[in-house]
């Protein structure tokens, strides 16, 4: 277990190091950070002044190592644009994305797992067709289209829910449904196929032969086996949601990490970009680790040594 964790930690550090170098290079190769910061309304003189002031006229390697040295000493820097420490900026934006991601994942799991189980148990039936239609629609509809539709129905038409901002929990309902719908099809299909496979396996036949109640067979024995890949996928989906729900955050004007990352890339706010990458790589690594541990709990054959 100890060696496993150490290996994972080393791998995570390597991932973080490589992504930070690649991101740093890409931000500089994709354009002039001073021009991005000055904006299109700035003259060449204004851009030159900013380039000097912020040290963008120094060699890239010097700039990178200066940043890396700061990070190693616990100083994550300051957003050029928002004029706040990066830690403070992340502390303001991360909870929004975390709440949105959790609600969206919760919505997706609540919808996908029961529907997937029912679709598997009634193959070819009404419920299966409904699940299939939902999966296809969820997969095919772009997030912004669903978002606009929800805004129209629940915001403009019915006035039930707020349509922008994150002042109250109600502000998260429509974004969470939009984002959750994006994750639902894959989870639903995986639950369904997993259940179909497990329901035909020997241990389920044995459980039935013992005369166990059907719900007990499904929930205690079949679902427990079928859900293992769903847990892994949910972890990946959650990572994706935390890393970049850019469209949903933009449409619903949520000040989350996805929107922050997008805006920071537009304005070459390198220290914020680096910090977001650092955070998301760590979150990914932790989520993957958690998924492995959870799978090991669910399936003794996968126990770590």
């Amino acid at each position: 277990m100890g060696r496993f964790l150490a290996r994972r930690l080393l791998l995570t550090l390597l991932v973080v190091l490589v992504t930070s170098i690649v991101a740093f290079s890409l931000v500089h190769l994709s354009g002039d950070p001073a021009a991005a910061m000055a904006g299109e309304g700035a003259s060449a003189t204004d851009v030159a002044a900013i380039r000097r002031l912020y040290g963008f006229d120094r060699p890239l390697t010097v700039q990178y190592f200066a940043w890396a040295a700061d990070v190693l000493s616990g100083e994550f820097g300051r957003s050029y644009y928002l004029r706040e420490s990066v830690v403070q900026v992340l502390a303001e934006h991360a909870p929004v994305t975390a709440l949105l991601g959790s609600l969206a994942l919760g919505f997706a799991l609540l919808l996908a797992i029961p529907l997937g189980v029912l679709a598997a148990l009634r193959r070819g039936g009404m419920m299966d067709r409904l699940a299939s239609a939902l999966a296809v629609t969820g997969q095919a509809a772009p997030s912004f289209l669903l978002a606009l539709l929800l805004i129209y129905v629940f915001g403009v038409r019915l006035h039930w829910l707020p349509i922008s901002g994150n002042a109250t929990t109600a502000h998260y309902v429509l974004p969470a449904i939009t984002l959750g719908m994006y994750a639902t099809p894959a989870l639903l299909r995986l639950t369904r196929s997993g259940m179909i496979e497990v329901m035909q396996s020997d241990h389920i036949r044995t459980a039935r032969a013992y005369g166990l109640a059907p719900w007990r067979v499904v929930l205690r024995h079949a679902l427990r086996s079928a859900i293992i890949p769903v847990v892994s996928l949910a972890a990946v989906q959650f990572g994706l949601m935390l890393g970049g729900s850019i469209v949903v955050e933009a449409v619903f004007s949520l000040k989350g990490l996805g929107q922050l990352a997008w805006e920071s890339i537009q304005r070459s706010d390198i220290e914020v970009i680096q910090a977001i990458l650092l955070l998301t790589s760590l979150v990914y690594a932790v989520l993957t680790l958690l998924a492995d541990l959870l799978n090991a709990l669910l399936d003794p054959r996968m126990r770590l040594t």
């Binding site: 021009a35 060449a44 204004d46 040290g55 820097g77 606009l148 403009v156 349509i163 000040k255």
Partner: protein, 517 residues
Amino acid sequence: MNRLRGLALAGSAAMSLLLPQTAAWAGKADDTLTFATANEVDTVDLYYQNLREVVIISQQTCDTLMYRDPIDSAYKPLLGTSYRWIDDKTLEFKLRHGVKFSNGQEMTSADVAYTFNHARQPDSGMVTRLLVDWIENVEAPSPDTVIFKAKAPTPAAIEYLSGITPIYPAGHYDSAPTVQTGGKPRRDYGAVLPVCVGPYVIKDFKPGASVTLVKNDQYFADSPKGKPSIGTLVFKTIPDNDTQLAELVTGGIDWIWGVPTENAKQLAEAPNVTVKAAPTTRMSFLSLDASGRTGKNPMQDVRVRRAMFYAIDRKAIARELVGEGAEVLQAMCDPRQFGCATGVPDYPYDPAKAKALLAEAGYPNGFKTDIYAYRDRPYTEAVMNYLREVGIVADLQFLQWKALRPIMEGGKAQLAQLTWGSQGVLDASASVSNYFKFSVDDYARDAEVRDWLEAADTTTDPTKRKDLYAKALTRIADQAYFIPLFSYGRTYAFNSDLDLPVTPDELAHFYRAHWKK
């Protein structure tokens, strides 16, 4: 993707118009005007951010020495009461008595001197250098007198001091934090919340999210801005245009701008929304490499440049594509700017003449070139189509501004469609002089034009100035160094309970707004 999105939006906007408008218009009921745009505002200090949103916010909260009336463009004293040029390089201002900053401190000449002496420093980090680079020093000989010493005669000084250079109390920036940028220490002056004299006072500022302003009841009565009427102004960032529209229709916000042409008509039919368009100072133009900075190229031949001018139907682009508020641009300046001569050689749309000129220049079958652009792709595509009609095949290199800027500076763009808003300055020194005085953006490198502009920028006699700008602009047009295309329009949509003047300066003067009875 954009088309699909447009269709979705058009559909939902159309549907929303069919609905009974049951939304409560919170604005009037709670005396709060909420305005929203897509941009995040990082600071409300105009010296450290040149976004139009920040100009709007700053003009509600921070007065300047002079005021340029947005309706008739007349200069009126604001924090100053009068001014006079002592000599070509010395400008004296008399200041208003008894005017107080939002912190209760009375404004004196020491505050004015402090503000400009801070901003003019090369390491101040001030973002619009044009506004302060002319200043050698500012002195405060008595509490109500301030003297600007200019480096050279600066006839545009009054324009620079009108509306975009706020006055802060002495010592204002002392609390600016020292921050590290990649191991390099610097003072972050933009992080200090402005303290000003103005119709509104900043109550709350959340960087990147919102700004709340409240009416300043102590604001001086005889201000040319007038006494503010609306109690609270709230600025919010809503990145998505469609969400802005939905919020406006449902009464969540009271004012938006940049309404797409395709939505403006539908929106105007909504009973509770007023839609108005107005021109702006932002110009769109083609930069041609006449001096050969990119190497030998067809655009070094004046006949080719004139042919390109004739090839483009600028009227059609402005009218059909850019939409309401847009105007055909006659010269490389905005007609409202001082010194902008409009009677310069023109090249009406004439593709036959364009083809003949190309043949005369040795390009009977046209030629191939790259065209760089960073904004409004459909407009560039329209230009490309017109050029293709006469045989010039342009390969579009559509980049973000931050990527195009170094290409332009490096002299690597033979042909580029650019835009420029003159930093909101209504003087030709901010437009034509920005591009033809051998700066990194100058692809003409005409010494005669440069000298005329240099003289115009530093001549105090208005008639002489106008003549010099006219000479430069005439030569630029005659030689077709740049092809001015159109000036942008802006479409504004707002709560129809609101009485608000829509002005041609791409700003919103909320201090002049009031709720209709």
